[in-house]
Symmetry: D3
Subunit: 285 residues, 6 copies
């Protein structure tokens, strides 16, 4: 589900405005006002569904008279041929809103589906798949929800709800004890309600971060061997996170190093869409 106050709705408004512009010339030409119709959204490729709220909102914005009735829930797996949702209402409105609703549903289901694949791959290890900020511009709320629907967990939403000290921040702090100083600086400024995470690349930094009281330590592009050793060093003093170029083929071995979290940019930056199509029929429901 999508729960933010305004952002995702603003995105959907932009999407409708860019598609509909000054009016759907084809539909206005060929469909008389007042014609009623029904539609069925069906999966043409298998996947995990996400984006039902977004699709519903898009259709509602086009015309509150369109009824959108999901037949599955966000997070459900669908096979080819499964009905995802049924629609009924004014034929013009269904045809005008169809593309935007499907574009949202297909892309978000794509994110949920790839997430579910990663999650399945590490089943039985103690690790958790988390997302990143490599989301589609404007769609972060929707894509973060899709990751949850796929069984993943969310990393921080953005720059203001978590501290993640990266190499560039450490470089700016400088000095031999830069990890320690950076963590202290973050504690001083950030609300006490957010955790402090630091990205490290060496085992010495791992040790320093743990001593300095980092809440979360991110192992950046470390080998699996190195991550095992890093985990031993941390010794449960902090949450550990593996990051960097994680692929479906490599994720299980990473999980088996014992890290707590594995962050995967590909969940949102390169997920192929799930194919969902609308069949349409004139007449009332």
């Amino acid at each position: 589900m999508t729960e933010g106050y305004a952002g995702w709705k603003a995105l959907i408004d932009l999407a409708l405005a860019e598609d509909i512009g000054s009016g759907d010339l084809t539909t206005l030409s060929t469909i008389p006002a007042g014609t009623m119709a029904t539609g069925v959204m069906t999966a043409k490729s298998p996947g995990v569904i996400s984006g039902l709220d977004a699709a519903a909102y898009a259709l509602w914005r086009v015309d509150p008279c369109v009824e959108f009735t999901p037949k599955v829930q966000d997070g459900d797996s669908v096979a080819v041929g499964d009905v995802v949702a049924e629609l009924s209402g004014p034929a013009r409105s269904i045809l005008t809103g169809e593309r935007t609703a499907l574009n949202l549903l297909q892309r978000l289901s794509g994110v949920a589906t790839i997430t579910a694949q990663f999650v399945a791959e590490i089943a039985g290890t103690g690790a958790t798949i988390v997302d990143t900020r490599k989301t589609t511009p404007g769609l972060r709320e929707l894509e973060k929800a899709a990751v949850r629907h796929g069984g993943g967990h969310n990393h921080r939403f953005g720059l203001s709800d978590g501290v993640l000290i990266k190499d560039n921040h450490l470089a700016a702090i400088g000095g031999a004890d830069r990890v320690t100083k950076a963590i202290a600086a973050a504690r001083l400024r950030a609300p006490h309600t957010v955790r402090v995470e630091v990205e490290v690349t060496t085992l010495a930094e791992v040790e320093e971060a743990a001593i300095a009281g980092a809440d979360i330590i991110m192992f950046d592009n470390m080998s699996n061997e190195m991550m095992k050793e890093a985990g031993r060093i941390v010794a449960k003093r902090a949450i550990t996170e593996a990051s960097g170029g994680v692929r479906l083929e490599t994720v299980r071995k990473i999980a088996e190093t014992g890290v707590d979290l594995i962050s995967v940019g590909a969940l949102t930056h390169s997920a192929p869409s799930v194919d969902i199509s609308l069949t349409f029929a004139l007449g009332d429901n």
Copy 2:
């Protein structure tokens, strides 16, 4: 280049708002105000670049003092290690805007890159690769520009700048001469400045559409053999377009049927991102 008046800028504002929220806690904690820095954006995977304007605008919105200097142009191919752009300015602003700028550049370059692959695949045939409305919600202007940067051509922008009569419109019109009636209806209502395209599935419809004066006839999910025959029927009376599940492996055979245009939803709905990273250094340029 991106030339629309307002849409793409509104999208970038949404993207920055969702990422930055009430402030970049980490950067504000660890980087003193007034610190200057430089950055280099480098390709980590090969591709065709698109989105330089979008990245520049994103950084400018974060802070007009950030200078963004592209070292390539939209449409240029880059190899691993090529420098895409250089940045200089306040360290805080570069770090705060980095992710949104990269997200835009990586995704749009992904669209340009896959487009270029399709274009290359059909080199020497007379066909042209065109995009669809299966774009990322909110990013249509940017993705349509990326298709051009990849060497493709744009289909209509949205529902108000072209007529495309589909099966559902024909079904609503009904009757044996529904193709003819639909084309006439569109001529009556739409500005004379837009062309009328009709999607057909049988050879009889092809013939009817050509006689009725369709400007463009879309062959929907026809076999290559059928498209060849359809092209003979049209006999240059209209522009012809192949559509439906076109893949990199199948596109050349389709082009060789003699169709004028091949529309490919995958250009925008499933393009993997190009990997571009920022290296960052303190100090003035």
Copy 3:
């Protein structure tokens, strides 16, 4: 009818905001909350009605409890004394929204009315009256609809849904074959779904445009004699359009030259309002 996604509604919001500001002092002072009323909108001058949707939307934005019931349809002719619409609802809301609703209805009906006059003037010729981009800033969707309600046809909506090569574009291209080059340049860049129109002033340009495959050729400020000759040159290879200072007194002769389209800026830039007034009565409907 008004079918665009967002533009015309945004305009009406601006109009209400500028009129109502921080509240209707007079109505709030003199009308008790809860008072119900009815109203009747009556034509005080003859004309063709347009803007019923706009008026309805304006009143709905002020208060969804106001019922607005049109007694005619957009495009209907009304005589003095004809009832255009009936209203009922909270007295405060009717009085607060009245002026904006009437301003919209009167102006848009003015556009429909003058359009109908031009259309009547050329009855029986094969020509069609079309509008221009000389619309009231912010009201383009509404005024383009009003032109259709008056029996006219729309030219392109704006700069992004049609190509219209004018003298300044030709001057920038330059060279003896600038018409040919400009048409080719437009084909290369614009979606294939929009037509290419070129504005010409000499018969040589007419011939060049027809050979170069212009879809539409605009005769700019030509004499009627010259337009007849131009039409013979085009010989149905393109749609022809007369443009420039067309007036009600001159339009029939222009139509008789055999041009397909006559574009008339005055439809939208100088249409006098139709006079419509609201009579108001306390009490329920």
Copy 4:
């Protein structure tokens, strides 16, 4: 000049968005990026200029690199052939912004021009021409400024900066002393910084309004004779205003009745545009 904070700029943004949409296809096709040009805006019909700020803002929003140099001031009279303004800057930006800038300038100059005609007609009488709320939706700030540029005076801006008790408000109050009660109700609720005006139709109401302390008394659709008598009754106890169907042919006789103000809806609801055209040349200024 235009001095409001946000309204008129929002209107111009809407106007540019509706015209430019996803980009000016013609200009982008035919004018190379980087081409510089100059332009001259020249009056093609005589009139009084208004809207220079609006035109300048529109061009600046398209491209801050366009220089717009007025050669006259708002309120100046121009003859056919007079130069109104000069432009220089990127050719693409001038051509893309031209239509919106001209649409604003032509319409607002139309309002200033008709206002000046009314003002000239009553020269030497003590009366003042004032506008009404019958303005173009969205353009009130700009049109109110145009009225001032034409030598007229502004009535209240909208519903929240003045009290104007009309027949419908009086009907809602009811009773023999409804004028008195309405004025008292307005004093009670409205800020003491706004004046209270009441619209009356009988001489008895005139007397009642004056006794009740109305600041301004509007004579609604009274004959000239009746207005003279009404003026005698008021005897300078209030400002007097004539209203209702005032035309250029009738305005002087109305002024000669001795009323202080004459409000004219036609200043803004039916003003024909002044014809202003742009000539364009490649090259730097």
Copy 5:
């Protein structure tokens, strides 16, 4: 009540966006979707209520399914323990919207309460308490309504609905007759529907303002003795207003000088909140 068209609603949208952001993590975690609940808003400190519309709108924007039923009216006094409003609806929505609704209600009731204290203090004198422009940025409409709910009267809403000539304006005009000239300049430019007020500091200026026909004369930081003398000079030729550092302890003596209006910035710039709390219970209403 709050009657402006758009401003106060925009403020509430900002307030909800800043509080809810990308979602209420706690409520989403702990309250199942579909759980219903009721709530009671109770006064924890005595005061005069204002902001019921604002609170209702905030809750409605979070979820139109939340029913908000005021048990008192704006302007009513409440004692500790009095029920202000009852709520019922989805538990998640009530908890998510609670803080914003309460923040509005508490602050606006604070303004109404302090206003009522000032009003009570001057009971029986002929003076009226009015507000100033020292309102909380963004909340002017709501706070001006709160002043009315507390029994005060509103000064001008802002810079465009009244003329108030201050020392800085007089200084810019200059000359011995600067008060006279400033009043004349304002009459020339401002709509005749707004009154002209001038702020004066000496008795000579008082006399000049009265002669020049000021509608309202503001005595700026004068002693009570001086105001009495100033009132004698004005002799009912204008409305008189006392201004400057008025406190609850000093206001009665000021009122007893005979001034018509006393403007008090503290009504809105320093009003302590009224304490109102929400008790919450699961289950249907």
Copy 6:
């Protein structure tokens, strides 16, 4: 400093729009365009300054030609008579923007000042003063910054960047182990980057929360004695926070109980403004 992307700027735009409306009638009447002026903002009451960025932005939005030069920094203490900032630029723009700039500066300095008083009161104890969500609607970013300028620390910004389980959430979970279950539910849903805080009222709940791994435990309206005992129970397993009706007179005793944090709603819901005034002089800087 204020670092959020968009919220605080949107608030300032609302504030300027509400104050300036369709134009500053007084200034436009009395100050000729082109007049230059300078101004000095001076403290009239002692306090801690906050809001310099906000004031600067407000003036810049009115007119980028106004130069605003702070003479102190946010967080500095000022005495009566201290210069806070100097301005120079167009006289009209300074006078038009003055009130909004001062309203921001005075209120935010009020927040910083009261915060500094609370901070001073607990000097030498180990406790930290933190704010709450009881901020002025729309001003949260600015007020949270003001709290930092006063030496306080921020609690979570809003509902999406921290988990704070309150009595109502616990009631909805229900059961003897509701504290434990609520914490687990939050861990499951919320990003791992935010901490989980729980509000408790009994010592048994304190113990349960500590065992269940709450990151922060809020003692809600406990007596000081009870908080001491609660602190002993927690025994550094979690951060402890005192909450509920904290006043300047009671805060030190609370701090001496050994709690880590003391949250004070009064910092933002009832802070009196600091008095800052603008003196203005014609002429250049």
